[in-house]
Amino acid sequence: MTHSVAAADPAKMLAAPPAHRFRRPDTRLVLGLGWIVLLLLGALLAPVVAPHDPLASDIGASLQGPSGTYWLGTDNLGRDVFSRLLHGAGSAIGGVLVAIAVGLALGLTIGVVAGYVGGWFDTLTSRIADLILALPGILLLLLVLAVLGRDLTYAMIAYGFLVSAAFFRLARAGAAEVRHELFVDAATVAGVSPAWTLVRHVLPNMIRPIVVQASLTASTALLLQAGLSFLGLGAPPPAPQWGAMVQEASQYLYQSPWLMVPTGGVIVLTALAFNLVGDALTDERARPVAVRDRETVRPEPAVPEGSVLAATDLRVSFGDLTVVDGVTLAAHPGRTLALVGESGCGKTLTALALAGLLPPDAHVDGSVVLDGRELAGASEKELESVRGNGIAYISQEPIASLDPSYSIGSQLREPLKLHGSTAPRTEAVELLRRVGIADAEGVARSFPHQLSGGMAQRVAIAIALTGRPRVLIADEPTTALDVTVQAEILDLLREIQAQDGTAVVLVTHDWGVVADVADEVAVMYAGQVVEHGTVAEVIAAPRHPYTRDLLAALPEPGQGRAPLPTIPGSVPPPAEWVPTCRYANRCTDATEECLLHPVVLADRVRCLHPVAQKEESWQLSSR
């Protein structure tokens, strides 16, 4: 009964995606629900099922261990423990239900209204909920019992009132969050009334967190109730009550320690069952399948002349799912390699694999060579020594990529010191100036949440530069930014590259960005590089049908609203990747042959029927 009101985190649980697909149910859910159902049946059928009268004492058979007659032994008066536990289950579960019912009735209704309506009602009720959560709950319950007499139902009603604050918070957060969902806006625009929206859209999307909170509440209410009964504040003896039975058992510790096992055990198991249900519903996220350690066949790395970073036959997989499939590419000092493709083509994972930053459950095959050092399969320690001064990485979420708790200056100084700076303070400010921040001192003192997206991306670039990296991997560095800010950031990258001779690997889906900064391009489709070449070659004379179709689908200025050429279908998910050409089913040029054999990357294109060179002139003239 040490628990106060257990509060589930509403934001977390609402974020969990709804599970519509049928999945093998969680073991915890099955075990938890199974025990609860068993207990309910036992409680309902106790008069019929129980082998003995719970009150019938047999002094001759007192304090016995488990036997054929007394399955769980007997207590000090020779009463059958199993029968008493069965008969006690009713009041235990009844009390829990009372607490949940009161908590739900109060918390849910008021919370949903507060969250959905907002305004003063929300402010007032939220303050009251805060107050209730700050009350020393158990002591108040003791006061309730002192005043109203020994009946645990009162205590459970009072507890329900206390936990209603937790339900309130959950319901309020849920309603407020769902309220801001676009589909609720859409329903509003569609003329759906607020009450109907509440019933149709808001409530169904809150059920899971509420059930989770209810199961947590059940567990705490049970323990609390048993605790009060243990203290002798429940129904007077000889009524069978779980907590009081532990109390009685504790009187005969010397004579019959066994008695502690069934009396406490049933409480532990029941509380555990409620918790298991809650846990199972909270993180229904699919756990990644355990990584199978495959025999790593390392190809002979073919490091192209003059490259600083070269990947050969790079493969990334999660469990059985291969998401990057045999990528070979090289980055050269002072040049920019663009990895282009749609989402789900594996370009970001390729970038992360190059930087050695994949999540721990990813499996990497193939080779990544930086300056003659093999990085694939290197230990975390080895990678730490390379990161920062060998390879640096910039992500697409500038503000989220900075630690919210430390000042910008401090976040620059830590890596500066790591890379051997003697005057980190001045160097930090110099770096900020270098990335085009006028008020460098001021920005060094500020925190990430005070920066605009463009400013934060400049800071992230400054941090990436602390170790003077030879390779800079930029993952969609401008996607989240406005177009005028994007131009500035791209200018900055170009400037840094010109000064330091950095090799840049730029991941992007935007062909305009490619045309602006890239020297070389690798086009990715479904985990593979389907075409690579210089930017002029690829844009002016694409050889893979996918590249051609993608470029053709882009609207062009001054074209009017003539229908655009489109590509039917969408990028297949990794589970549907075939060994043969993965674009074949969307490709207008595909033949029978395309569906028969795997296609290799040859002469800078992975295609059996590359676009004829003569189309080049047409492409050029159309632009």
């Binding site: 969902e181 625009v189 085009g436 045309a515 632009r623």
Partner: protein, 318 residues
């Protein structure tokens, strides 16, 4: 011809700042008007105000001759069949727990809530008729946006507000959705208020464009004309910053952009919202003292409206 939608001097105030500051625009029946601007320009807020999702602080919004700025819920419900929306994110704009059919049916007038009608609607946006039995998560982003479009056009609206409808989509599906909008418009004569930051996409679809910066109209007029020769320094800067898919051309544009000397957004001092000057003045390469102190009026230049002192001065000189 009377405009279908007429927004006059619209202002929307959030706690302290003005999200939209005196914007006027109109949309004729069957026309597409593009609202262009960067984040903080107020383009989405205007769309939301038209839809009644945020209350206007000042100004009027007239739809089919009726003032709807502060319309009651009852009026809004009556309007729902005339005024519809397609949001940016097709993942969150569809209720994950409702079948596609139920989602589409919800917006239809009672007499049309039949399975045949829903199936026909889904087919008209390029989805299989049996899609109505499935849930949103079973569809790709592009297909989900088609569902959202089916819901929007279901009641035969006169105007659909499209809030960044293609920016969350994959490159290969963007073109298909743009085509779908064009095709629907040709077929049904629906007017579109197309809110987006992608200039090329907006130009592709729009008859007219309104360029916004920090809640104010900088330049408005025929799409082709503005794209061919932007007049306002902000419009020029915006167009110059958008990269084109041609390395050679892009190199030329880069040089031209550097020469123009637009002040970086991170170097410019933040302007106080209440200041009277032009909001772009701190970043403007050609700003003069007057630009910082006096709010420029929107002047008619040919078919366009432009809010710039220098342009007005040029014209007076000429």
């Amino acid at each position: 011809m009377a405009a279908l939608l007429e927004v006059t001097d619209l202002s929307v105030r959030f706690k302290r700042t003005l999200g939209v500051d005196g914007v006027s625009l109109d949309v004729a029946a069957g026309e597409t008007v593009g609202l262009v601007g960067e984040s903080g320009s107020g383009k989405s807020t205007i769309g939301r105000a038209v839809l009644g999702l945020v209350p206007p602080s000042e100004g009027s919004i007239r739809f089919a001759g009726q003032e709807i700025g502060h319309a009651s819920r009852r009026t809004r419900r009556a309007l729902a069949h005339e005024l519809q929306v397609v949001f940016q994110d097709p993942h969150s704009s569809l209720d994950p727990r409702m079948t596609v059919g139920a989602t589409v049916r919800e917006g239809l007038p009672p007499d049309r809530r039949t399975d045949e009608h829903v199936a026909a609607l889904l087919q008209s946006v390029g989805l299989p008729a049996d899609a109505r039995h499935r849930y949103p998560h079973q569809f790709s982003g592009g297909q989900r946006q088609r569902i959202a479009i089916a819901r929007a056009i279901g009641p035969d609206p006169k105007l659909v507000v499209c809030d960044e409808p293609i920016s969350a989509l994959d490159l290969s599906t963007q073109a298909a959705i743009l085509n779908l909008f064009a095709e629907l418009q040709d077929r049904t004569g629906v007017a579109l208020l197309f809110v987006a930051h992608d200039l090329v996409a907006v130009e592709h679809l729009s008859d007219r464009i309104v360029v916004l910066y920090r809640g104010r109209v900088m330049e408005a007029g025929p799409a082709a004309e503005i794209c061919a020769g932007p007049l306002h320094p902000y419009t020029q800067a915006l167009w110059a910053a958008a990269p084109v898919v041609d390395p050679e051309e892009q190199r030329r544009r880069r040089t031209a952009r550097a020469a123009a000397g637009v002040v970086s957004a991170s170097a410019a001092p933040p302007t106080a919202q209440s200041s009277n000057g032009c909001p772009f003045a701190p970043r403007c390469p050609v700003a003069e003292p007057v630009c910082h102190t006096v709010r420029p009026a929107e002047e008619q230049v040919g078919h366009r409206r432009v809010a710039c002192h220098l342009l007005a001065a040029d014209r007076r000189a000429a």
